[in-house]
Symmetry: C2
Subunit: 309 residues, 2 copies
């Protein structure tokens, strides 16, 4: 089907969707699991009304030629209670992906939508939606992986994987804390740049790991040092990031210490976690978030019964 890339309109064999709180990304896929085209919009689950999901999807794929009942496999917050249709959590320990997916009735007969369920944990209480699909993708490429997978983001996940199952996991709100602090506290006057000071980052990680209790006082010292000395914004930004990631590594030490660690995510944020872990003697495997999502959604297609291949 690859010659269709050059035809007037792409005809996907199936559609892969990563539908999060703030974004919607879609890929027109061939039966051979090649990406024919991609599309993105800001119609995230948190930004549209509950009745508008089908319209948002049709808008996203309006450039493609849809065959009848084309499989559309979606993961992420689209399956939350406030999403298109709730895909009830599966409880760990369990494989990252298992049937049945949650089917969604649509008005448009061309769409055959199914949502991948998220995972929950009873003790301590925790949840994920979307990361389970990336982990399924990762395990489809490395089935014997035994260790911990870290998926950095707004809500960073640390996921213990063994024998093809997710054993347990823990979430740290590090990315959201970074955004809330740098946008909505006095540190907004200090973190005013995209500059970066690698030494300041490593030293802040190390400070936070060795004295994790001092986070709230060290945060203000970024501001105070900016007032009383010349603390450049790139140093301030790297120090804020290092303090928060360092605190997270202190909190999750039991998960990564002495373990094989894999990072799944975008380059910039994985770079930061990689440096922080490296300073603790951990050499992490690196994989790309988008590639893992696509591999996972391909796995989900197989168990959906809609596999067109």
């Amino acid at each position: 089907m690859s010659d269709e890339i050059h035809s007037a309109k792409i005809t996907p064999a199936w559609i892969a969707l990563d539908w999060g709180t703030s974004h919607l990304r879609g890929w027109a896929m061939s039966a051979e699991r090649d990406v024919l085209a991609e599309a993105a919009s800001d119609a995230g689950m948190g930004r549209i009304a509950q009745g508008d999901f089908e319209a948002a999807l049709l808008d996203l794929v309006s450039g493609w030629e849809l065959p009848s009942n084309v499989p559309v496999i979606a993961c992420g917050m689209v399956g939350a209670r406030q999403g298109w249709k709730e895909a009830p959590y599966r409880k760990v320990p369990c494989p990252p992906l298992a049937g049945p997916l949650t089917s969604v009735l649509t008005n448009d007969p061309r769409l055959g939508v199914a949502i991948v369920p998220g995972l929950s944990q009873d003790r301590p209480p925790d949840v994920m939606r979307g990361e389970e699909t990336q982990i399924a993708g990762f395990l489809s490429l490395d089935p014997d992986f035994d260790g911990v997978i870290c998926l950095p983001g707004s809500h960073t996940k640390w996921v213990r994987v063994s024998a093809g199952e997710i054993v347990s996991f823990q979430t740290a709100m590090t990315g959201e804390l970074y955004a809330a602090i740098s946008d909505h506290t006095v540190l907004r006057h200090s973190v005013t740049t995209e500059d970066w000071n690698d030494d300041a980052f490593r030293s802040a990680v190390s400070d936070a790991i060795s004295r994790p209790e001092s986070l709230s006082t060290r945060l203000f010292s970024i501001r105070a040092e900016g007032l009383s000395r010349s603390l450049d914004p790139g140093t301030a930004r790297a120090r804020l990031s290092g303090l928060l990631i360092g605190a997270e590594l202190a909190a999750t030490r039991a998960h990564w210490l002495g373990m094989q660690v894999a990072l799944i995510g975008t380059k910039t944020i994985c770079d930061a976690y990689d440096k922080a872990l490296e300073a603790q003697g951990v050499r992490a495997m690196r994989t790309k978030g988008e590639a893992m999502s696509l591999a996972g959604l391909s796995e989900a297609l197989k168990i959906s019964g809609g596999d067109p291949s």
Copy 2:
């Protein structure tokens, strides 16, 4: 002059001002340091342009009859670089208050404005503006106090006081962190109330003190527990507050352990710190923030040379 309370217009002998980032509060004072009237506006330093301070002050006191060159004694962020006029920091160790104040030239000849300088510390870098005046008020009433004064707020200060001097101090961004997290992260769905669960607060303080490194993971568990079980909003709010205050107590332990502790602030926030400290075996003295500000501004009036008594 107290009969003026009942006259058509109050004539202050001097005016006391607490001029912070988000608020402006003023008191018409008698020569005997009694409060004749008070006024407040939202013309905080961070909300008005640099040329608008005199107009904001005249607006605040427009209901009062101003004698010529009435002393106006101000403390707080009004003395910051971005304020009305910079009142350069004095360096600790030093008494909380010492002359000269920073005089401000005004267009209106009825105003004789002077600003109390803030304090700075070199190692570790830290700053305060406004709290030094409350501490000066506290020491005017209890000159022999030897211990640590905690002033809870957006930027909570822990101030070591001995022999009438501020020896050192440390700031924790606890109040601002609470606001940023409860307004600008996923916890905004959990902390939706003014309800309060005292047991959840005490237990979160204790958790945070014993394992301060786990803040970022415990924060997300408030959300996860709200999703997977019935965690009521009053419990969520008290737990968030307890985790942050507990982390602050862990960070500042060297300041309060085995010390006499005094709290200066508003009732609600001092109640929370009082309970948290009590659980650590510390019985804090309680004083009211506004009364300490007024007592401190009265002390500042004396050294301003504008004392009308």
